[in-house]
Amino acid sequence: MSRTLSAPVTVAFDYTRSTGPVLGRFLTGLRDGVVVAGRTSDGQVVVPPPEYDPVTHAALEDFVEVSSEGTVTSWTWVPEPVKHQPFDRPFAFALVTLDGATRPLLHALDVASPDEVSTGMRVRIRWAEERVGAITDIACFEPSDSPAPDPAAPLVAPAGAVDPVTGIVVPVSLDYTYAASPEESAFYRGLAEGRILGQRCPTCGKVYVPPRAACPSDGTPTAEEVELSQTGTVTTFCIVNVPFLGQRITPPYVSAYVLLDGADIAFLHLILDCPADEVRMGMRVKAVWKPREEWGTTIENISHFAPTGDPDADFDTYKHHL
């Protein structure tokens, strides 16, 4: 058995970005099948356009249209693509200077082997079948036979944007493995046996539940295990009436700090078996466990805390825990 417990966590959200006028102009162009570059005060033609001029720092307003063909200026091979990359087969990432631009754009180049890529090779944009106003409107670059124009075509301003892009949705999903500390792992394993285990700090004598690897007050490693009572006192609480994204308990519910008898710190849990508006500071409560067959190594083995029916604790007995 591993000394520590671990479990997967996925943190995922669809972020809604405001593009601002400059990146919005670029993305509007992509949606319309046109590459819009920015011309900076030092004469550079940059794709995507920078939001602010690197020399004058003024907001960039000089947009020009550049070609959908260009020249590879550098590249790298991706032999083992990972999730969310442009292809699930080997491909190249290439810096491509589009005809008319002076600075390269980074994107994927769709070729079968690194033998088919070289600096100086000519490439063109392969547009996505459906364009929505995102960098993925350029599906990738692909090899092209047409030579660089000579002389270069004059730069022209892009046509006025109709229904410009102002925002994009960026889904982000991160997979983590959450690892509990050895002390927490012992606490969760205790819960799997129906016990609530804390640890006492050898320096200040305070009993922590859940146990920490070291006392937060004096830094001393904690080792002495203490089994705690299943009854305690509500020190303070709130009634959550507000629903929110990702919420796992249906409101309204009482989120309370419960100070177990024998512990020196309260922890948050749920109070049930009485109306929310009857929960009080000082109320005496006891752990109510789920049926044993539902237990795991989690504090959710304790379904909730419920009133014991005993008289409330005197304020003086817990006021230093607020």
């Binding site: 417990l5 479990a7 997967p8 966590v9 943190v11 959200f13 972020y15 809604t16 970005r17 405001s18 593009t19 601002g20 006028p21 400059v22 920078p50 939001e51 602010y52 690197p54 720092h57 907001a59 925002g167 960026v170 982000v172 959450y178 509990a180 969760y188 200040c204 305070k206 922590y208 937060p216 007050s217 303070t236 609480f237 709130c238 009634i239 959550v240 009436n241 507000v242 929110f244 990702g246 919420q247 796992r248 308990i249 519910y253 989120s255 020196d264 710190i265 922890f267 948050l268 849990h269 749920l270 929310a276 500071m281 190594t297 989690t298 504090i299 959710e300 304020f315 825990h321 607020l322």
Partner: protein, 386 residues
């Protein structure tokens, strides 16, 4: 070596809104920066270093945003630092910027803090369930509501005091053209609003805002050409463990220690008599009386009496959050810097309609995490004598 004198000569902020769909993150920062530079009579070329602050990266889903923002912030070729101390970050970012001048390392430092809350959902970002644990967390309101209940019990405050603060701050915001929520509120209206995290009502809660704030902080030679510098009389940051046995969650040790050190630095012996305007970080209305006690404006248990008496109103003995405060605009990362910047505006006589007449010394305050990080400064119209 003694600290070099430093002063705020430029303050800029955005029009804070629920969503600023018209600008990117860079554009939001530049709106505040360009106003601060114009106020200081400077351009980005005059700036030696840039210090940027924002709250957790999960709020916008961009890791280390200072990297992609560098060019837009004018930081290419200059030192760029990023500061992070959760909700107090706007304050601690300003203090780090000030320290670069006070140490003599730089003469003209630009600092900016921002949050674009509309790109995500802070309630979600602050409540991601952790395996093995009880999923009872419910955002910042869920975190702070039990501690507000503790304050009410401990101090014996009448339950309408939170509503007095909310009505005052929302009404003050009518005089601040940059504020997000600009609506007159009465105590009765606040009390009638929905109970979200009992004992905290909807109208006793800050909004979710997009916004930024920027300051230009300079040495005394540069400040000499400013018509109205706000001199920095003291800066303090303190932190403490979020959870510890018998930790005071209502009036944390780090807060009390920070306030004591701050007023000592600033040569202030009676804050209520010597501070003319205070911008205190109050994201939930009850934190006004709580911080009044912790900061030493009132004795323990007396903060609510000060609030109830009207002393914290714009024409009161200690005007608190004349700008409308966090209760009216909460671009989280910027909220602390807004407090610091609004304090500077007061002593510069530049606060416009929400100016406190003749303000000479003002407090800017921020806190963050689980009341775990504290940042505060005192600014004055006069150059400090020591």
């Amino acid at each position: 070596m003694a600290k070099q004198p430093a002063a705020v000569v430029g303050v800029g902020q955005t029009h804070h809104r629920a969503q600023r769909a018209d600008v990117s993150m860079a554009g939001l920062c530049r709106e505040a920066i360009d106003r601060a530079l114009a106020d200081a009579g400077m351009t980005l070329d005059d700036i030696d270093a840039i210090v940027v602050g924002k709250a957790p990266d999960l709020f916008e889903g961009v890791m280390m945003p200072e990297l992609f923002l560098a060019e837009s912030l004018g930081a290419a070729g200059k030192p760029l630092l990023r500061v992070h101390t959760a909700g107090s970050v706007g304050g601690s970012t300003a203090i780090v910027a000030a320290s670069l001048v006070q140490s003599g390392v730089h003469k003209r430092v630009l600092t900016v803090a921002y949050e674009k809350q509309s790109e995500s959902n802070a309630m979600w970002a602050l409540s991601v369930p952790v395996p093995f644990n009880m999923p009872v967390h419910a955002g910042a309101g869920g975190y702070f509501a039990p501690h507000v209940r503790s304050y009410i019990r401990r101090s014996g405050a009448p339950t309408h005091v939170g509503a007095i603060v909310a009505a005052k701050d929302r009404t003050n915001a009518l005089k601040n053209p940059y504020a997000h929520l600009r609506e007159a509120k009465t105590v009765e209206q606040v009390l009638a609003s929905q109970m979200l995290w009992d004992p905290i009502r909807y109208d006793e809660t800050c909004p979710s805002s997009d916004g930024a704030c920027a300051l230009v902080i300079v040495d005394q030679d540069t400040a000499a050409s400013s018509p109205n510098p706000a001199w920095i009389h003291g800066t303090v940051m303190r932190s403490e463990a979020t959870t510890a046995a018998e930790r005071d969650q209502v009036n944390p040790q780090a807060s009390r220690d920070a306030a004591a050190a701050l007023f000592k630095q600033a040569g202030i012996t009676s804050p209520i008599d010597e501070i003319d305007a205070a911008e205190i970080y109050v994201p939930f209305s009850w934190f006004e009386p709580m911080w009044l006690e912790s900061l030493g404006f009132a004795e323990e248990g007396g903060g609510w009496k000060l609030t109830e008496s009207g002393a914290t109103a714009m024409d009161g003995r200690i005007p608190v959050n004349c700008s409308g405060g966090v209760m009216s605009s909460n671009p989280i990362g910027a909220s602390g810097m807004l407090r610091f910047g609004e304090a500077a505006l007061q002593v510069r006589g530049a606060a416009g309609e929400h100016q406190v007449d003749g303000a000479r010394k003002a407090l800017g305050h921020a806190y963050g995490g689980g009341s775990q990080f504290f940042a505060m400064w005192v600014v004055g119209a006069d150059k400090p004598t020591s």
